[in-house]
Amino acid sequence: MTGKLAAGLIAAWIIAVPAGAQKPQVSLQMPEKSALATEPPSVRSSALITDGTMLDLLRNGFPARLHYRIERWSTGGWFDDIAAEAEWDVVVRYDALTKVFQVYRMVKKSTVSLGSYGSVLDAEAAFDAPFPAPIRPPKRGQRSYYNLVVDIETLSLTELDEVERWLRGELKPAVRGKKNPGTAIGRGVRTVMVRILGGEKRRYEARSGTFKP
């Protein structure tokens, strides 16, 4: 009985997931085989900042920071080694005055504006397009693979901001008698626990296959 109930719940949950919803993901696009020793891979992504929570935070003035870290690992010995690595950032910020999303990419000491856009989908598209990773490709004959990690966090969202948002969004109606204060406090506790568990950060990973240029 319990097993059937659990199976039913899982099935209902899977069905309830919107089938058409675009899946947030990052991927590595490898160069042609003949160019593996001369060209780096390109990084592509989709739907990283367009979901409800992230969009809500963006619209409330919290810029989103997407931190990219790519590593090239060499294989062959007992253990794999990091042969090269590179990091860069993309920052997305909503300007409430002009109602546009501004997108910047920061690589080493250079910051480049990718433009300003009226919709979050256009802003997402600006940095989703294939971007050649600023990493040195392997020498010929060096068996390797790439590993990409993208960490997304909302900049400036300190615990003080969290408390302010909570007070503004959930506790204030409770104080005015429009909401159950017990529920509001319970939500606050849950928010803290979610933050302790790292729920305010998102991480996506992609890995290439092992190759030998």
């Binding site: 899946k23 003080l160 979610v194």
Partner: protein
């Protein structure tokens, strides 16, 4: 990486503050900006933060107060003046629930440099913080009323000099004058088992301590939270001296229950993370620590093994399975709270991790597992591990508990365990079984971070 993050924060703060006019969507792409001048814009502000812990002595410590970051001469200056309010005993306004943490730190140099600083503090400190990482300790206390640490009060000041090379290596020397005191377990809320009692927080050796410490740290890991490769080496030598109250512990006392103690102690935490294929890892950890010279170590500086952070096949503070090489309590019995009493410790941990093909889990990952709007994604990894460790006392050879300073216990006297687990990325469920004590039942436990 920290520099890049600071530049990001500076960029955003500057944009928000200045209300810079937005560019239009058809603005020319790839226009490069010089943002060097923005790096100094993050000057700190008012901070309110949890102490990243939850325990039976403090509840949730809340730190609040002003912070400042700026330039002083050729270096970076960081100042903070944080008050501490603890939620134990219903946030009752008393001396046990109030503390402070003031600090000033000056650093000069980029890739390599030097720094110095001073701190004044009235804090509650873990006796063995190396055993278990947070938030695992805090969550066990909050949800299950299981506190895997013991605590003591530190009230005093400390100054230090340091030298660093990037974020990879640092050395420091410090001097502190601190009053150490016993703290009691208080009325602290837990989600479950609220009617049960907390384990007693053991008494320590109260007194005024003068402490000189030398620290060396090397961290070449590619990621601090989920490392795949690199070294983590943390070494510390501490010289301490002071007059301590020893009557409530097992250190031999004079008539007035006090004793002058002057001791030397070392501690080494050595970890190596190895990637053996794109999906497999073999990681190892060695922890060595203990008395090196002088009088016996005060109880604030003792050691123990056993429990989810060290030897999960054995219950935390387990006694009654032969010679107590976990806490080093004599056969006559343990002190209240079963404190760590060992003067030396050796612990080895070996772990094999294998990331599973996650197509099955991708069904669940499609939109993530949502908790209050936060999205968690599952990344299943099978973990197999083996641990071995023990503690011992220093003195004339006495059975399997006490050894002379220059000898090392036989490996057949170590507590050992094996285990397996499934780490889903969000949390891992593990089963561990003691090997050296075959009759011990298997333990099931949950970890929210990697084991080490």
């Amino acid at each position: 990486m920290r520099m890049l993050a600071r530049r990001c924060a500076a960029l955003c703060c500057s944009l928000v503050a200045s209300g810079a006019s937005a560019q239009q969507a058809d603005a020319p792409q790839d226009s490069t900006f010089d943002l060097g001048w923005l790096a100094d814009d993050d000057h700190g502000g008012l901070t309110i933060t949890s102490g990243k812990t939850y325990n039976r002595v403090e509840g949730l410590p809340i730190l609040f107060g002003p912070t400042y970051k700026g330039r002083l001469g050729r270096g970076d200056l960081t100042l903070s003046a944080l008050g501490i309010l603890r939620t134990a005993h219903g946030l009752h306004w008393d001396a046990e629930n109030i503390g402070h943490k003031l600090s000033a730190d000056w650093r000069m140099g980029g890739r390599r440099g030097v720094g110095f600083g001073a701190q004044s503090f009235d804090v509650v400190e873990k006796i063995e913080p190396w055993q278990l990482s947070e938030p695992d300790g805090a969550l066990a206390a909050f949800f299950g009323k299981r506190d895997y640490f013991d605590y003591f009060g530190r009230h005093g000041a400390r100054g230090y000099l340091s030298a660093f090379r990037g974020e990879m290596a640092s050395i420091s020397v410090g001097y502190g004058r601190e009053r150490w005191s016993s703290r009691r377990a208080r009325d602290v809320f837990t989600l479950f088992r609220d009617d049960d009692s907390w384990r007693v927080n053991p008494r320590v050796n109260d007194g005024l301590a003068h402490v000189v410490d030398f620290n060396a740290d090397i961290d070449t890991r590619n990621n601090a939270v989920d490392p795949w490769a690199g070294w983590l080496i943390s070494a510390k030598y501490e010289y301490g001296a002071g007059t301590f109250r020893v009557g409530d512990t097992r250190i031999a006392a004079t008539e007035d229950g006090e004793r002058k103690l002057e001791y030397g102690r070392v501690f080494l935490d050595l970890r190596r993370y190895n990637r053996i294929s794109p999906k497999r890892q073999l990681n190892a950890r060695l922890v060595l620590g203990g008395w090196v010279h002088g009088d016996p170590l005060p109880f604030e500086r003792r050691f123990s093994v056993g429990g989810p952070g060290t030897l999960p096949g054995f219950d935390f503070r387990r006694v009654g399975i032969g010679t107590d090489v976990g806490q080093c309590s004599p056969e006559s019995g343990s002190l209240p709270g079963r404190p760590a009493e060992c003067e030396r410790l050796a612990l080895g941990q070996l772990e094999y991790r294998h990331e599973l093909v996650s197509e099955l889990f991708d069904v669940f990952n499609r939109n993530g597992i949502r908790v209050r709007g936060a999205v968690f994604r599952v990344k299943p990894t099978v973990v197999a591990f083996v641990d071995a460790g023990r503690g011992w006392l220093i003195g004339s050879r006495d059975g399997r508990l006490t050894y002379p300073a220059w000898s090392f216990p036989g490996f057949d006297t170590f507590r050992t365990d094996v285990g397996v687990g499934l780490d889903l990325g969000v949390a891992g469920v593990y089963v561990a079984k003691a090997v050296s004590s075959a009759k011990e039942p298997a333990n099931v436990f949950v970890r929210f971070r990697n084991r080490f």
